[in-house]
Amino acid sequence: GAGVSQSPSNKVTEKGKDVELRCDPISGHTALYWYRQSLGQGLEFLIYFQGNSAPDKSGLPSDRFSAERTGGSVSTLTIQRTQQEDSAVYLCASSRNTGGGEQYFGPGTRLTVT
């Protein structure tokens, strides 16, 4: 079947605008993760969804960031009032609900805030 898909692949926005990034996980995967990859850096955890449980938002850098997951499938990451430091690649991953299970990554959305 299809892998994790993300849209858009690239997004250029002006400082202060809101953006929405979308993630379609692999069908049947109950766990979904958002990470941020800044230039020359590793992956920074943002948020984790597991089934119908309350998400772990502990990695969100500010209250301008939010995410939701509808129907246990598609997820949207929203960044309000974007800042230049938000420029990064935003990666989504999904996995089965098993410890040690592989996280399958999407190709990412490259966000540039001008």
Binding site: Q50, G59, S95, G99, G100, Q103, G108
Partner: protein
């Protein structure tokens, strides 16, 4: 909490030479360990993982890694590299038994020279 240190940000090596990419971690709980590879403009792909059992794990593309609990290390090795191995490599740690988010190192850029 966990942390991961990848000691080398860049590793240049000639084709057909052996390579070792170093990874050290710290954790207050038992861990799972992973190596992911990222080719340019692509998402991350799992190379190999250690969950339990044998400390020497083999992955795709001829890579292997050895879990050393006393030295808290999980170094990645390949006896003979190819040009096509040029990519960014990330070491990651997760809490054993958990499907929660991974903690990633900052990455090692492997460049294979002709």
């Amino acid at each position: 909490a966990q942390s991961v240190t990848q000691l080398d940000s860049q590793v240049p090596v000639f084709e057909e030479a052996p390579v070792e990419l170093r990874c050290n971690y710290s954790s207050s709980v038992s861990v799972y360990l992973f190596w992911y590879v990222q080719y340019p403009n692509q998402g991350l792909q799992l190379l190999l993982k250690y969950l339990s059992g044998s400390t020497l794990v083999k992955g795709i593309n001829g890579f292997e890694a050895e879990f050393n609990k006393s030295q808290t290390s999980f170094h990645l090795r390949k006896p003979s590299v190819h040009i096509s191995d040029t990519a960014e490599y990330f070491c990651a740690v997760g809490a054993s038994g958990s499907a929660r988010q991974l903690t990633f190192g900052s990455g090692t850029q492997l460049t294979v020279l002709p």
